[in-house]
Amino acid sequence: MAERRPKVIGFCCEKHGMDAAVLSARSGKQLDASVRIVQVPCTGRVDGIHLLKAFEDGADAVFVLGCLEKNCYYDTGSIEGRKRVGYVKQMLTEVGIEKERLEMFNSASSNAWAFPDAVSKMVDIAKKLGPIGGGERQ
């Protein structure tokens, strides 16, 4: 049987986060294909429910990619995003899911390696920790 492919989902902000992803692709960086990108206007828009639902729908690792905190397109958006991620991390610990499965990253739009770095980090975590709960999920 082929190796189980992890499912990694990233919520990227449409401004610097998405720009960083596009720049990395245009500069020829190769990624693990198991990453999915959902575009949100700003990481401040990411709600706890989106992150938790993503785990519920089968994600092994979730990440949020936003602008640099001092240079956010929407001023304080990525700070709000970080707070949200921290809050959900706490919730994950309470329900017994490793909090490493959720991470927040920041990137400048001119940073071509931030997105591949984030993806490889999350894929590594997903592979290391395996599926949530250890076995097959319902």
Binding site: V22, K53, Y74
Partner: protein
Amino acid sequence: MKAKVQVVLCRCCTEMPALLNMERLQKLAAESNNVVSVMTVDAACDGKNLAPAINEAKEKEIDRAVVFACHKKDISPAIVKAYRRAGVNEFLVEFVNMREEVVLPHMSEPERAQAKAETKMKAALIRSIMLAPLERQTEEMKTRNVVIIGAGVAGQAAAHEASKAGVHTILLEKTGKSLKAPGIIMTNAQLVGASGYGGNLQLKIKAGEKIENLGAAAVVIATGGGWTTLKGPLAKSVKDAVPLYKFYEQMQTGSVPKGPIVVVDTPDPAGKTMKVQDYAWDDTLETTIELKKKHPETQIFVIFQEMRAFGLSELAYKEAAELGIKFVRYDKGGAPKVDPKNPGVLMVKDFAQGELLNIRFGTLVFASIPPNEDNKAIAEALRIPMTMDGATRRGSIQRWPVSTPRSGVFVCGSALFPKSRDVAKAEGAAAGAMAGEFVKRGRIEFGGIVALVTQEKCSACLTCIRTCPYEAPFIGTASKVEIRVQACQGCGMCVGICPSKAIELHNYTDDQIAEEARVLLGGDF
């Protein structure tokens, strides 16, 4: 009514077919619900190639479109414009970044890329059906007034630049000094209150003893810096320290300064490090060089913590060193203090040498501009954020280098942080030009992807009001939150944070985001 979706697959010249099986994607699109037309074009970014797709959209009376091409930012303006001609609402055109998300990063894995592309297509089609048509609104500006607060270097530059756009400039000057600048100059005038939003602001101005109401389309804040005295332990022993700008003025009037001159970079060397003060550096160098040239026999010491003479000012640093001006760097531990036995001697530990230097001084000059005290009243009136230091805070540096987060309110010069005259003048010109451009348009455009409050769910907890950087939410007449559509930028921060889930962002609702994530996670690749 059943939605009619058109799918446009872009070949991106030859990049897409090189990795993906376009026939399978076309078949999948054609078999999906609601899809009435599938077009494959060579390059969607080329208007000529897009024309057949637009023609078909007109014929089949398409109301939604999904474009599979490259980065949304690069292609959306042209495509949205083309679809608008075919009668498709601009917010119903969905873009999927197939090239940068699927093709380029997965060149070595065609099967997985194909599966990923198909999943993305499914997700995009589902999202497309869930999108709601939105309209942008416009509002005419009632006046063409640009009110410039502060008639200093930056304010005058702003007035000159704004007047080029053919708008009325009104300068408010706190003092009664006479000056020449285009437009009306109100002396002894201060801003005391404001209402409305960028484009149609109602200002309350205290001119002399009277309070006057003034309509304005844009406001430029050019309050400049404030006044300060020496602080910390140094202030106790040195009573006659002069600020740099005053020292410069004295020098211009021809009075010869006394004895060796020591220039300190901040008014409180032993206190916390000040922010980068390019003002301090540019003007220190400029002033000391001028002084040294006039009076070569005067000894000049410059004592500093951080040297940040940037750009061409570095040449001035070199020139100063060649003229014989001594530079002494100290760090926090060795902050300068006056010798207790000899009040005319300054003791400072040279950071580079590690030695304690005793510098005899006649005049102590400190280079710094604190933020203006009026900033607070202005920020409260115009509802704009401030920095920790008490200066006006600007928006995102790339998008809004001389603007505040509020549209129609611009800021320049030392109101942001201390600056040299040249920089303040340049910033003033930039802010004036932006204000002129803004008012010249004659109307403001707003709406589209903005937040909307479901008032029944709102518990008026004020969380959104505290979170929004643009001051868009406010408590309305029904004691519930309403969104000032003219100010909303569509970031959705209030939506994510609302504990009652009473706010929704058009086209980025919880359902839409969660559904897209669900479909994407459902695919096996």
